[in-house]
């Protein structure tokens, strides 16, 4: 059987890829996709822990938590993409370096 730590390391790698792309990329849509990737990486560790916890006392709260994370991620996706479309309509650009109105 595969140790739990393999899944957790895979989750850590995916999360780090997301963090790196979030910081390096300049396009809002790519940044948005890296956020989704990070959320999925966290979901993976929740499911791995749910499996681990299930052996001990037959609990599966991890899976229920993943369900809630998914709903929040779906809400975030809808609002985020609506903001991106509205931004593109007014600014004609999606480069984060040119959308710095709230920067000090």
């Amino acid at each position: 059987m595969v140790p739990v730590s393999y899944y957790l390391i895979l989750s850590a790698i995916l999360f780090s890829i997301g963090v790196g792309a979030f910081l390096i990329k300049r396009n809002i849509i790519t940044i948005f996709m890296s956020i989704e990737l990070m959320l999925n990486a966290v979901n993976l560790s929740f499911v791995a822990f749910a499996n681990y916890w299930n052996q001990i006392n037959h609990q599966f709260s991890g899976q229920i938590f993943v369900f809630f994370v998914m709903v929040v991620a779906a809400a975030e996706a809808a609002v985020g993409l609506a903001i991106i479309i509205a931004l593109f309509r007014t600014r004609k650009t999606l480069n984060v370096d040119q959308v710095d109105l709230m920067k000090l």
Partner: protein, 173 residues
């Protein structure tokens, strides 16, 4: 199970790297859909049928399509400008530092010695439904409200504002 884990992990990792590094946005979105599918397979591998299928439905079916639609609606916005060298270096360093911290935490904890168990067929989906509607019924209602509010807000945000001429026409009518 080990072979399937390795295959799914490789698929997910390569798709994630492709999604974050391809030059064309639409290719990034499609690679991201592949990564979501691989993660759904890993969830099924871990015995989480409900979450794995929800992953396929919500992420591959809805979020990826939503991203593709957003890309198509913002055509001509391809930011092909290369990131500055400083930004790329500092981003990579921060990502590596995050990975080092996470890997250290995982490898030094007692969890790393535990093995996952084989999947046994069970009526786990039914148990999840019962738990959601008994123990977690208040969070469920709250999150339903949140989702409704977010979707209405998204529609209002993305609503095309009427041009002044059209608005005057509506007023005089």
């Amino acid at each position: 199970m080990t072979v399937s884990f390795v295959l799914l992990a490789l698929l997910t990792l390569s798709a994630a790297v492709a999604a974050m590094s391809m030059p064309r946005l639409i290719h990034c979105a499609l690679a991201l859909a592949v990564a979501f599918t691989g993660l759904g397979g890993i969830f099924l591998n871990l015995g989480a049928e409900f979450v794995g299928l929800a992953q396929l439905l919500v992420y591959v079916g809805a979020v990826a399509i939503l991203i593709v639609f957003a890309i198509l609606l913002t055509r001509g916005s391809e930011v092909s400008m290369r990131p500055g060298a400083r930004s790329a270096i500092s981003g990579t360093v921060i990502a590596l530092a995050v990975f080092a911290v996470l890997a250290h935490a995982v490898l030094t904890s007692g969890v790393s010695r535990m093995a996952t168990t084989a999947v046994t067929p069970s009526n786990r989906v039914q148990e999840i439904g019962v738990t959601l509607l008994q123990q977690y019924v208040l969070p469920l209602e709250v999150i339903a409200l949140l989702l409704t509010a977010a979707l209405i807000g998204a529609v209002i945000l993305a609503w095309r504002e009427k041009s002044p001429a059209a608005q005057e026409g509506a007023e005089t009518r």
